[in-house]
Amino acid sequence: MSIEELEKIAAQVRRDAIRMIYLAQSGHPGGALGATDIFVALYFAHMKHRPQPFSMDGQGEDVFILSNGHICAAWYAVLARSGYFPIEELKTFRQINSRLQGHPATKEKLPGVRVATGSLGQGLSVAIGIALGKKLRKDPHHVYVMIGDGECNEGQIWEAALFAAHHQVDNLIAIIDRNYKQIDGDTREVLNTDPLEEKWRAFGWETLSLHEAHSLPAILSVLREAVSLSGKGKPIMIIAYTTMGKGVDFMENDYRWHGKSPGPVEYERALAQLPATLQDF
């Protein structure tokens, strides 16, 4: 798929996410917009995965876990548009009787979701378990996991960091959505995680930085680099310097857009910046 086509998908996914959140009158737009390009790169160009029939065990394919589950609006849109479930279903996001729960869940059996996430800090450990399972099964595919930078406040993240390095989980590629924003404000003011790259290196991870986290060629390039470094005894971390709210000017870098729906006027302003590039759901 060409870069232009990927960019077209990314633009539509941003629009999908804002429309889903507005329809539900709730959700987390800032992080969803910020991680969209990475989701699109993974699912439409980088990972070897099988949307149908969806298999929970992920055997014989790459697996992705979204540990910062609250940004799932964009992830759901990417899953739908890559064939995991009907695009039409996106309109049920956060509504009663939906498979698209407010935070990712397996109970409703939404294809593409392998573990519930939302309570932060847990997805990295689960991804490590899947990666260990792949090793035991001699499955050469990779496990990808995204975690938030605010999520790195959780102690479990650092337990997992120790464990993955100690057990040489080198088929695991983690990505930190480093937008320096969390609910209460700037990460440097709420609970500083700097210097983040040094921390992961010190914990024994092969650590890469992705400064152009909204450039599809740059994302694909760092993902390829990560794969080339896998299998060498170290888990891999990509610190992706994303912009929260990317694509909607008034949401960009504003922590107040962590977890609320736009109002009617803001919604129109946002959609004006996100024209449909594919068919809307």
């Binding site: 996430t117 991804a127 490590i128 260990l132 792949k134 035991l136």
Partner: protein, 321 residues
């Protein structure tokens, strides 16, 4: 004549788990295990030695251990995680709730050193709230076997059971009195150890032995009190228990757990649902424990055969009123 259960030689229930785990793993290559720096204490060392490639040392990182287990279960393995009951439940409640139960992962949580009988380490380690925590979780199965032989069987059964299991056992040697391959043990079914028409004691875990001793002592006074082993606290054998609530108004529960949220609450709940009865509870009375020898602690906190006898007598008096 009622059966006479005899102690074939005291053994710790945790060793029953260790033996069951190795046996289960020999039969099923999907079984893997994780420990949190307590491998030998939880009796997982034999497994670790026999199946080094299927054993993962998590260090003192219980939250991560639960998550890694959930990941291994996602791929189709059957992970057993082992640590002390406190660190296996309260410390990682949210990880069990979200990554295991809500996510429907086939993870087995093996919790050793449960209850007061952990002994000298004191209240920091004497977990008495775990049954309540675990049985409140949708999808969780909770098993509290009564002796070494039954803990081995429960481990084998848990390995074959589909879905999350909380398996509770203890530290000190305790009487081993059930048959080696007891054919009557089945997850979710009560065991009527002693029949009786004058009352019933529902007991779980280490307290089953004490309940038997209480019943035998009362027999010499001409009272025939039934003893029911409620080894599975969830799913609870509703119909099996209700049958006994119908039979007699003299109801006693005995558990090495807080008086809240455990077996006493389960039986009381069934009584209010099907057959209103007073329930006398032998349990820890909403307090923390302390350092001491297991028997001293059971005595001080009211968990011995004589405390059960006193509870039966209270129930009988209440019936007379």
């Amino acid at each position: 004549m009622r059966p006479r259960f005899v102690d074939s030689g005291a053994k710790d229930t945790r060793s029953g788990f260790g033996a069951g785990l190795v046996e289960a793993a020999q039969k099923d290559s999907r079984i893997v295990a994780l420990a949190a720096d307590l491998t030998a204490s939880v009796k997982m060392d034999a497994f670790a030695k026999q199946f080094p490639e299927r054993f993962f040392q998590a260090g003192v990182s219980e939250a991560n251990m639960i998550g890694v287990a959930a990941g291994l279960a996602t791929v189709g393995f059957i992970p057993f995680v082992g640590t002390f009951a406190n660190f296996a439940t309260g410390r990682v409640y949210d990880q069990i709730r979200q990554s295991v139960c809500y996510s429907g992962k086939n993870v087995k949580i093996a919790a050793s050193h449960a209850g007061l009988t952990l002994g000298e380490d004191g209240a920091t380690h004497q977990m008495l709230e775990d049954i309540g925590l675990m049985r409140g979780l949708p999808g969780m199965t909770v098993i509290s076997p009564c002796d070494y032989n039954q803990t081995r069987l429960a481990t084998l059964a848990a390995a074959q059971w589909e879905g999350p299991v909380y398996l509770r056992f203890g530290r000190p040697p305790v009487p081993n009195f059930t048959p080696v391959d007891d054919p009557t043990f089945e997850i979710g079914k009560i065991q009527v150890l002693l029949p009786g028409s004058d009352g019933v004691i529902f007991a779980t875990g280490h307290m089953v032995w004490h309940a038997l001793q209480a019943a035998y002592a009362l027999e010499s006074k001409g009272l025939f009190i039934a003893v029911i082993n409620v080894h599975t606290l969830k799913p609870i054998d509703e119909m099996g228990i209700v049958e006994w609530l119908e039979r007699t108004p003299v109801i006693v529960t005995a558990e090495e757990h807080q008086v809240h949220n455990g077996l006493g609450d389960i039986i009381s709940h069934l009584a209010t649902k099907y057959r209103p009865r007073f329930v006398e509870r032998v349990a820890v009375q909403d307090t923390f424990g302390e350092s001491g020898k297991p028997d001293e602690l059971l005595q001080k906190y009211g968990l011995t055969a004589s405390h059960i006898i006193a509870a039966v007598e209270r129930a009988l008096k209440r019936q007379d009123r």
